[in-house]
């Protein structure tokens, strides 16, 4: 890794953090509608995971997708514009927060039905296997999603057909207000992969370098024909499930303990301690991220609403 790669990871994480903080404000002001699920606390997961993907590798995730979009190379502008429902948004304002995508960047969404994108991910990987592409499909989902039938159908099929998928469970300890052990028969989620004869491991999701390292190895193995593998990433969401969550299901002490493991703080210290970057250089990255997000908000607010004819566009490709 070059110095600028280290700084770039830092930059991405800070952009996500700032973008999420600004989104929360815009939501309070009524400028963002619908549901808004923030990625704050989980930035290291997708940043590490996606930092080692190749352009041909496909990424697909659930509705907590803003960070994933940024890591896939979508601009803060087109993400913010989508949140504001503008026609300049990545989905032309017709998807909203939960449905970000950019097919050209191999980012396949943004899916709001819990677990429903897992079968689709299996299909993306099938497409690559069928066409002889050496690509990996990376499918991210929450701990809660491992309890729905789609998860089991998709894992089973991926193993039966030896599909090149990396299943990535972001275990942030809760599905809405339900703690993992209250919803999942096995609370060590990676063990669910055992039932499908699939290799699995777990990694600390608050440490971007650890996520990156294990991801790089798994991509390699899968690219070289290992078949599907399962990665459980241990993480925590610092904010509520979505906006307006009263958070009765967890104690403030618990939240406080996790806040001490802020993924950006951990990486910040790592960069200083290993003398990869100076404090000034990191402050400069923070400043740039701030600018980028401010610019995105200005752009999104100034962007036009979708024109009325957009309503009937894109129902079908033909007719």
């Amino acid at each position: 890794m070059e110095k600028r790669d280290y700084l770039d990871l830092y930059h991405q994480m800070v952009v996500i953090r700032r973008l999420e903080e600004r989104s929360a404000e815009l939501y309070q002001q009524g400028k963002i509608g619908g549901f808004l699920h923030l990625y704050i606390g989980q930035e290291a997961v997708s940043t590490g995971l996606i930092s080692v993907r190749r352009p041909e590798d496909r990424i697909i995730t659930a509705y907590r997708d803003h960070g994933v979009a940024i890591n896939c190379g979508l601009s803060a502008r087109e993400v913010m514009a989508e949140l504001l429902g503008k026609v300049t948004g990545c989905s032309r304002g017709k998807g909203g927060s939960m449905h970000l995508a950019d097919v050209k960047k191999n980012f396949w969404g943004g899916h709001a039905i819990v677990g429903a994108h897992l079968p689709i991910a299996a299909g993306l990987a099938l497409g690559d296997a069928y066409q002889g592409n050496k690509a990996v499909t990376v499918c991210m989902f929450g701990d809660g999603a491992t309890n729905i039938g789609y998860f089991h159908e998709a894992l089973n099929l991926s193993k039966v057909w030896n599909l090149p998928v990396l299943w990535v469970c972001e275990n942030n300890q809760y599905g809405m207000g339900t703690a993992v052990e209250r919803a999942s028969a096995v609370s060590e989620i990676r063990r669910k992969a055992d039932g499908y004869g699939m290799k699995s491991e777990a990694v600390d999701g608050m440490d971007v370098m650890k996520v990156r390292e294990v991801s790089a190895r798994l991509y390699d193995e899968i690219r070289n024909g290992s078949g599907p593998q399962f990665l459980e990433v241990i993480t925590y969401r610092f904010r509520g499930h979505s906006m307006g969550d009263p958070e009765r299901y967890r104690s403030s002490e618990e939240v406080k303990t996790w806040l001490e493991n802020d993924p950006i703080g951990i990486y910040h210290r790592y960069l200083l301690e290993n003398k990869i970057a100076s404090e000034e250089e990191l402050q400069e990255q923070i400043r740039l991220a701030e600018e980028e997000v401010n610019d995105a908000v200005t752009f999104a607010e100034a962007s036009p609403e979708p024109p009325a004819e957009e309503l009937f566009k894109h129902i079908y490709v033909e007719g």
Binding site: S91, G109, H111, A122, G123, G127, N156, I315, Y316
Partner: protein, 323 residues
Amino acid sequence: MARITMREAISQALWEEMERDPSVFIMGEEVGVWGGTYAVTKGFYDHFGPERVRDTPIAEAVIVGAAIGAALTGLRPVAELMTINFAFSAMDHIVNQAAKLHYMFGGQMILPLVIRAVGGGGRQLGATHSQTPDAIFAHFPGLKVVAPGTPADAKGMLKAAIRSQDPVLFIEHATLYQTRGEVPEGDYIVPLGKSTIQREGRHVTIVTYSKMLEISTKAADQLAKEGIEVEIVDLRSLRPLDMGPVLESFKKTNRAVIVEEGWKSYGVGAEVASRIYEEAFDYVDAPIKRVAQAEVPLPYNRTLEQMALPQVDDVIKAVKEVL
């Protein structure tokens, strides 16, 4: 032109499309080694091999879901659901994913996907295995829903569906597989979303599709003996619904009977009738009649089952009521 069965026509369309385009492949339960539950894909596995004729686990959500994913990568999967009754286990992927991805992501995602599913009652399979839930699927914009009633249309529309850039639910009828008809050889395409006049007549319009085309034709034959000339419009596609030939015919006959196999409530007949009232009210000479399945879960007992399904006599009675 050869006279072949509906099964052969469907099989021929699949075979020819797979020969023509290597991105077309089949996946579903028992489509391969077994040869297809209804023998539609008999011989395919040996000819095209396991990569292109893929036996799946009994897992409808992932059958449709994985077909969606593969379609997103540019392939043209034909996913087979053993019967349409099992589509309910894949409902989310059909109506929440397939029907919505193109629109919801602003036109970025393209799904050239076909879901084949066989439906219909009349074989004493009991309530869970005998349904005609076509209208449910036709409710959703973004999905194309077609149900041909003749072997020629089955071939031509399946080819059109496979070549279409949009997700298509292709509904077959279990008791039509043995029906024979003239089917053009080779590249024969029937565009989706076009209804057609299957029989000309001047006294009354019957609007129908799929299996009920056969029932309606039998009724028309009998009525002809009494001097009643029935015009039959075959919808063929439920979504998009082409009202053109329906309205054209109705403006000539001023009377209509709509015959469908599914339940009457919230059904195809309800939709077509209200469209006629909305778009041709001035031409209405008699209240429009609907013939449909009795509002019960279809019973196993043969007599009861036949009582519940629309019969030739029901159609004749309805025609006489509107005359």
